[in-house]
Subunit: 344 residues, 2 copies
């Protein structure tokens, strides 16, 4: 029979995790003290700010352990956090992992989850330096706090977009949400896990390398990730910056897979691209004269497309679709929100 948490206990598990991290993880620069004391300790580098984010994912809500192995569950949970550090332009460095696990959970699954974390952290020479394990009766949760560094003054905020700026977005937002829909609404025998939309959900990619390069250039004015959905997150930029946005629907980056899925399931691909979220692309703004420079920066390090989808306008929180004949159609962006009653 496979070993479970109730066989080895909290301290047994912590030892196993500690060994795995020592063998398969990389040390993060500046770590004074990692796992194994009341607190971890780091020695921050002079001339750098520290960025800190936390995000939790819950089984059945933010990931689906019935369709995913724990390696992918771990990757997804860490990606969500790396995306937040990347959206400020930072370099991920130190993670603390707080787990709520059921006592019958298989130790190998916990180890696979940590391998998933490491597969995302190791490329940055970032490390798990602490955490916590507690027992839950119902849904497993993974709550990660991730810290990163950025040169003082270089962090890219939401609140600093300017009227006239171009609005750019990386990749193909909406693919992961479409993949999730397929997982949830296809009879289980018919699910094709190699479908690119389902892969976009199971193995999402952050854009932290791209975010860091953009921030280092000093050419962008604001940046955010698309974790709440393209329009909802653009609305965060506009609301915090006191500006509005004119968007060109025909420019929206809609992938071939998303188009095919929309046709097959009689959905609106523009809605799918702009409303739903479960992928971690970047939205950024910059002066028009810097658009090509930023595109070149991205193209040098990455193959992902980066697309101008609109322009920041002066009218505070006014959103327009700009139609092909240049007339404007005002709309209200809506994104996913926890807790809100459906239909309210």
């Amino acid at each position: 029979m496979s070993e479970t948490l109730s066989d080895i206990g909290e301290f047994g598990l912590i030892n196993r995790i500690d060994n795995l991290l020592k063998q398969e993880g990389l040390p993060a620069e500046g770590t004074v003290l990692g796992i194994g004391d009341d607190a971890a300790s780091i020695q921050p580098k002079e001339g750098f700010e520290l960025l800190i984010t936390c995000d939790s994912v819950i089984d059945g809500r933010h990931y689906l352990s019935k369709f995913m192995n724990y390696y992918d569950v771990g990757r997804r949970a860490m990606t969500v956090n790396i995306s937040d550090i990347g959206a400020m332009g930072g370099q991920p460095l130190y993670a603390l992992v707080s787990l709520g696990l059921k006592s019958d959970m298989n130790i190998h699954d916990v180890e696979d989850m940590y391998r998933g974390f490491l597969s995302e952290l190791n490329p940055f020479h970032a490390a798990v330096i602490g955490g916590n394990v507690t027992q839950v009766e119902e849904s497993t949760f993974i709550d990660i706090t991730l810290m990163g560094e950025i040169k003082t003054g270089y962090a890219l905020r939401r609140s600093t977009a300017k009227a006239g700026d171009a609005i750019l977005v990386t990749g193909f937002p909406g693919e992961a949400a479409a993949g999730l829909e397929l997982l949830l609404h296809t009879t289980s025998g018919n699910i094709k896990l190699d479908n690119p939309l389902i892969q976009a959900y199971i193995s999402p990619t952050h854009r932290a390398r791209e975010g860091k390069a953009i921030a280092s250039s000093g050419l962008a004015t604001a940046m955010i990730d698309t974790s709440d959905g393209l329009l909802a997150d653009l609305a965060h930029i506009c609301s915090d910056s006191g500006v509005g946005a004119d968007l060109y629907r025909k420019n929206l980056p809609i992938s071939k897979s998303l188009k095919e899925d929309a046709t097959m399931n009689k959905k609106d691909p523009y809605e799918m691209c702009t409303r739903d979220s479960d992928d971690y692309e970047l939205i950024l703004t910059c002066a028009q004269e810097n658009v090509e420079k930023i595109k070149n920066i991205i193209h040098k390090i990455s193959e992902i497309p980066i697309t101008q989808i609109g322009t920041i306008s002066e009218e505070r929180e006014i959103y327009n679709w700009v139609l092909p004949d240049e007339t404007k159609q005002q709309f209200t962006p809506k994104g996913w929100d926890h807790f809100i009653k459906k239909g309210s």
Copy 2:
């Protein structure tokens, strides 16, 4: 009807929390960017390390919302984390609060929880600089990451106790666990919430001010908090330092309330003091010649007792009770462990 999370949604809740923090919280030195972006940002102080800890509490497991108001729930959750920073000798500064909440939770209860956080943070001029809210179906959880600072090189670890050192403990360990027992095993109509043991559980106190003063003095060799129980945590010090301990049972700090409870419920007060945990006292070690100096440091800032309960010995992980006739009785420390099957 009272307003619930499903009425105002995630973003509504975040706005409410943000306003509450602005009105009732204090800004923490070094905060560049607080709540409201992809990540928070801090500018660390030169010559200081940053300490980071995280701890989660779950309703029904680590706190009991049926006996506690949410202000006390918030205080308890923050105290657990402040205790960890204090046990390293640090000054708490920045908290990130990750909540798993049910959609029918009352907004006022969430606000009271934050007031509980602030009641513990404000005395340190520490602030909530970020967090996350997600929906859960079952048990509510509160997962806090707390960061603190300490002068470079001054953090007190578990792994640095030396043979011959005195072993000191603050306060009266075991009171909170005894209070929890009373809450769990008394018929609800008969619970006296003003019982000092029950109060020790509901409103535990960290020793972070004392911990900081001890670390600043440079006189202690190792320190830890009693979150796993007096003996289990002393065992962490011994195991990590490669030493053992001789303990004097008669010196154990057993409060009048604990003694009375032990008599009334036919329990062993020594077991209650050393085994169970739910309070956040400090265990520290220091050279014998520094015992009085450390006691004086504590007495200057606090009324809590600090008691020498034993001596560090050379024998790695060997634990003895020293009897009144100076003979030794070896024992194995056991502490509370999540997940382990009862009876195994």
